[in-house]
Amino acid sequence: MRTFGSPEFFFIFYALRWTLTLTAIAFVGGGLVGIALAVMRISSSKALRVATSAYMQFVQGLPLLILMFICYYAPSLFGFEVSAIAAAAVALTINSSAFLGAIWESALRAIPKAQWESADALALHPFKVLRFVIAPQAIRLAMPSTVGFLVQIIKQTSIASIIGFVEITRAGQLVSNATFDPLKSFLAVAAFYFAVCFPLTQLSLWLESRAAKRGAHA
């Protein structure tokens, strides 16, 4: 039997990069899909609005764990084997896209109709209205909740441990099994999560108070 020492600590620490990798994939992938979803949600096409709404509601109503099982096991029904990281990345991307899409949709909707109207009246192309007038204001509005959701993603990557992907939660389990010292193992895991998340929650709070103080221009 091993005791919990610095090799165990560093084993968890090295797994942190997989937590961060998974977070980055989910945030960037989910962000790109989320932007598309948010824009489609406010489009003039009813078909697009209904389809994107159905997707977002469906994903938001599904536990991430189940989504991850589906992404991991469903491909094998069709004869494909997927790696744990691929399944986790896809599941987290789908999940994040639905929530980020909803956050950004409400930010876009919060911009007064008069802003769209006066940009239209200046003969700006709809894409440029979005790009130069609406999006900059919406991004400022959505920034605190976006950073807040990033913290959620970091913590949600722990669910990838269920399908055997070795990020820090799974690393903690392995160390715990080897040392029979679950308390130290998971306290170390908790410390890493906190070290990453705490600065981000502070950033989110700071963005929020700055937005409240400075008004529209930042």
Binding site: A114, Q115, E117, S118, A119, D120, A121, L122, A123, L124, H125, P126, K128, F132, V133, P136, Q137, R140, G215, A216, H217, A218
Partner: protein
Amino acid sequence: MLLPSHFHREVNMSVVVANDIRKSFGPLEVLKGVSLNVEAGEVIALIGRSGSGKSTFLRCLNGLETVDSGLIQIAGHAMSRKPAALRELRRDVGIVFQSYNLFPHLTAGENIMLAPVQVKGETKVAARDEAQRCLSMVGLGDRFDAYPDMLSGGQQQRVAIARSLAMRPKVLLFDEVTSALDPELTGEVLAVIEDLARQGMTMLLVTHEMGFARRVADRTIFMKDGIIHEGGPSAEFFTNPRTPELQAFLRSEIG
């Protein structure tokens, strides 16, 4: 449709031609056949109680509202629902709103530069010079870098006028541009509009400022229940209103 013979002649001379414009919001018909021709350099004041259709009519002229029937020609463009054609039209037709609607994340100068750069493809340097010139025209030459929330309502509205001017429009529409302002700030905005009138800008103004309409507008139009109830040269219009409805309206407005 056969048009009366005088109509063809006026199409060529007029900057604005509106013929028999009808518009309903659901069951409510707000415009019941409005026709108006505006010549180049004319200033037209549109007055009437709220709900008379004057703002809706003005907004129809640059396609912010669609019309149910009727013909609009403005600044050489036929009104269209096609987005590209509508953008062509709007390059030549400026509008200033009651609530200014400046872009709050851009400075005064950037607000003005946006459309010339992004719509007309002007260089930033040229657009900056033009924006500076337009700001000076409205008396705000030193506020280029100010954000809208650092400006008073009257200053914001003057920036909004400068933003329209930077596109070098052939017609300017003003939708109750002083109604949101404190009385002591309306004067500075009206002075800018009066200055534009002297320079020969073709303008249509929806307004509650009767004294201003009388002094600056070549013609004043009184709208009531979705039609042009009475209209004519401003001096005559205000001195000798013909219909009892206009007489009653002017009494209530002027007191």
